[in-house]
Assembly symmetry: C2
Homo-oligomer: 236 residues x 2
DNA sequence: TATTATAATTGTACCGGTACAATTAATCAA
DNA sequence: TTGATTAATTGTACCGGTACAATTATAATA
């Protein structure tokens, strides 16, 4: 692992182990440089990484402070895949409803930047959180990138397999959110009545080189759905 | 403006003016260094900024590429305040329903990190997008930070006033999303029927020094609400 | 006591440079 | 033509350093 990543991880661990709260001050740069035996720019890089992740914020002339929100039980929309929920990673279980290889529809082909005569894996799953139905998920994977999938993988973590098993590097994703009313079929899967609210999240995942490899539509059970997003200064 | 910010802006402008698309390659680092008469680290800093904003992605050993999504008409959840909508900034109009100074509830005091005997501005607005009701917004501002507000400011952009008028620097925000059914009062404001879906977004805005100054609850009209989020590699 | 000026602290912008890793292009062998 | 090897391209990690800007603490002043 790279030095600056390693340092970032250690700082993060330090924050958690000492249960630091929002606003608590971290050691000054000079100290961190000495402590981790790294140059100023390397420490800065670690801190920038932590700032992007929303773990700290830096105040010029003042110090480096812990950033930590107060509410529990929210799913982080950004720390996707793994459904990291505040501190604890929740145990999400998945029931695979369908898994096959098919030709993509025009919509899917468009989003995955592939031709309609190429193959795509299709996976339909229900995901549970603490035994309750969390969401209904339909995903399409470009087979020329994700070369193989099976039921066992799909019932565990597909992303873990893509990263570790296939050695692919995931780069960035575009997410589209829409609120609407549940259709009958969706309502049945989620155990809700037709017409109840739903949140639909369509996500296109790309490799580090920009290739889209996964297009997924997730329909959330509104009763279980509380989300969390952190935004940084450059947006405001 | 700082050099690296200036360069980032110019690169962004270049992308828009030449209508570059996702995957199009930018000039190599050496060229950018020469073109902007800056050192490598400064160019890197500009590119990092653009990467955070989701405008480009860098592929080691290959080049720097434009990142641009394909769908139009989505509100960016992160580029908050100003409601930047894809390329065009939409003209959002606001109708101020209430504006007064009041003691915060326990919930508000908690989120703004203030005492209940301190003062907070309360603003209730309906916001329209292209003449249609977009959302109902209730905001609380810590008066010791946002020292003054009036109807005129609230009907325009409060954030613009906070930045330009008061000279405050906005740092980061925490957002909490929840999907639910509209209550009668909310439904009336939004011109929808009671029980229809809604998206509620609670946001706590902080200054660069970490102080929370604005707590707002926004209820979106689900018919007008399509959102967009970009996530980067460090999350995945 | 409150206000203002000054100094100390602390992070940021910007520069320069070396070694390296990932990708792509070119070359050669089968 | 295919596949493997090598070389060229291109961005990244890490180091070092100087000048500066924002904040906070201290001292001086009213």
């Amino acid at each position: 692992m790279l030095k600056y990543q390693q340092i970032a991880t250690e700082i993060e661990t330090y924050i958690e182990e000492n249960d630091l709260q929002q606003g608590d001050k971290l050691p000054v740069l000079e100290t961190l440089m000495a402590q981790f035996e790294a140059s100023k720019s390397t420490i800065i890089k670690s801190l920038d990484l932590l700032e992007k992740k929303g773990a700290v914020f830096q105040v010029r002339g003042s110090g480096i402070f812990v950033r930590r929100h107060k509410r529990k039980g929210h799913i982080s929309l950004l720390s996707n895949q793994g459904f990291k929920m505040d501190l604890e990673d929740f145990q999400i279980t998945s029931e695979v409803l369908e898994l096959d290889l098919r030709k993509p529809s025009e919509e899917v082909a468009f989003n995955l930047n592939m031709k309609q005569d190429e193959d795509a894996y299709y996976v339909k799953r229900i995901r549970y959180i603490n035994g309750k139905t969390l969401c209904l998920e339909e995903s399409f994977y470009n087979k020329s990138i994700v070369t193989y999938l099976n039921n066992e993988i799909a019932s565990e973590s597909i992303f873990h397999y893509i990263k570790e098993g296939l050695g692919l590097k995931i780069g960035f994703s575009d997410m589209y959110l829409k609120v609407d009313k549940l259709k009958e079929e969706e309502a049945n899967y989620l155990g809700l009545e037709k017409g109840a609210p739903k949140l639909t999240v369509e996500t296109i995942f790309h490799l580090t080189n920009g290739q889209p490899f996964d297009f997924s539509k997730v329909t959330y059970n509104y009763e279980q759905s509380q989300f969390f997003i952190q935004a940084n200064s450059h947006f405001l």
